[in-house]
């Protein structure tokens, strides 16, 4: 997803020396440990994944340099870079990246947003393994061009937990090598999970619910609620510069006022994904 828009250099392996300055932002895991620590490095940024790698991101988001911790695999570094660093770098290029998944349906893009574990990737993969094409997973790059929003295609892979992988692919998934910080598998595109290599016009953004619905249910979302969800699910590296924040906010507000947004909830059962897909297809035609 947009990785061609960022110049990447793997510099060297080195241990992570303490950083003198205080971080300006931190991502934490559910257990409360630091997952990613954000520092300023002159006009640039240093993004540290403790025990894994440091990434220096240029102030304009156009280049990234990486120092991996010794014994961290190249696949781990690549996975971190694609899933975590590229979206943040793109945000400094004033691009809008949402934390979600997207599929192509009837030549248009349908996006799924939600909390981690809500089922975005599984739902998108269920379309990809049933005659539709994936556009992106984990990061959705949205562009506004000629009075329309477009979803750009991403790196052709999907990240799934073992149970989703087994349910949707059996033993036939084409897997990327495992990485050291997650048990999620990265499934590469092939004839079982086809990727769409072209951008598609945005048609729907579904905000996934918590799985308590007994059957697929849709309900409209106000612009106010859409804006709140977009703030929660958009990547943003620079979280302090007022002009950057104002630009980001204006863009999210413009998107929130579009008629794309619906909430969707459905039971999280693999055997019930077919009727969920059918319900989504019917809803899109309304």
């Amino acid at each position: 997803m947009g990785e061609a828009m960022v110049a990447f250099t793997w510099v060297d392996a080195r241990f992570q020396a303490p950083v003198e300055d205080s971080p300006f932002h931190t991502w934490t895991t559910a257990a409360g440990t630091a997952w990613a620590i954000f520092y300023r490095s002159g006009a640039d940024y240093l993004l540290r994944f403790p025990g894994l790698a440091d990434f220096q991101i240029g102030s304009n988001g156009c280049w990234v340099r990486c120092w991996s911790v010794p014994d961290v695999s190249d696949d781990t570094v690549q996975h971190l870079y694609l899933n975590q660093v590229v979206p943040l770098a793109l945000s400094r290029q004033h691009r809008l990246v949402l934390h979600g998944s997207a599929v192509e349906i009837a030549d248009a893009a349908v996006v799924f947003l939600g909390q981690s574990g809500a089922g975005k990737s599984t739902l998108a993969a269920s379309f990809a393994t049933n005659g539709y094409r994936m556009l992106s997973d984990d990061g959705v790059l949205l562009e506004y061009c000629q009075d329309a929003y477009q979803v750009r295609p991403s790196h052709p892979s999907i990240r799934l937990w073992a149970d989703s992988q087994a349910a949707l692919f059996g033993r036939h998934a084409r897997l990327a090598p495992p990485v050291q910080y997650t048990d999620k598998a990265r499934i590469l595109a092939d004839e079982r999970a086809v990727f769409c290599p072209q951008a598609r016009s945005l048609q729907r953004i579904y905000l996934l619910g918590d799985g308590t619905a007994k059957s697929p249910v849709f309900w409209p979302v106000t612009a106010r609620d859409a804006l709140i969800e977009l703030v929660k699910h958009s990547f943003m590296l620079e979280v302090e510069a007022p002009e950057m924040l104002a630009f980001h906010f204006e863009r999210l507000t413009a998107l929130a006022n579009q008629p794309f947004f619906f909430r969707l909830d459905y039971p999280r059962r693999f055997e019930r994904l077919a009727p969920v897909r059918a319900a989504i297809l019917k809803h899109i035609q309304r």
Partner: protein
């Protein structure tokens, strides 16, 4: 929060009119708050740098409400915004 306090709005907190409501959002942390007409006017006056006391002074000329009720409502709102870390005491 007291009426004489000075209030600071962090740079990462912004407000926009969405539908018929003003939404205040912390673009960094994700906290949000919806404001009705009176809350929107309080927010506009805070952005101008007014203290809570000055906010009430201005709004007494604009709204048909008792001073006591207005002060109570303004302080309630400001305390909620402070709890959500959308404003701070300077």
């Amino acid at each position: 929060m007291k009426l004489a306090d000075k209030v600071t709005i962090p740079a990462n907190v912004m407000a926009r009119q969405v539908d018929e409501e003003t939404v205040i959002l912390d673009l960094r942390g994700g906290a949000y708050y919806g404001l009705n007409d009176i809350g929107t006017r309080v927010w506009q006056l805070l952005i101008e740098g007014k203290t809570p006391m000055e906010v009430c002074d201005s709004m007494m000329e604009e709204f048909d409400v008792s001073r006591e009720e207005l002060e109570k409502d303004v302080l309630t709102l400001l305390n909620e915004l402070e709890c959500s870390q959308l404003i701070f005491r300077a």
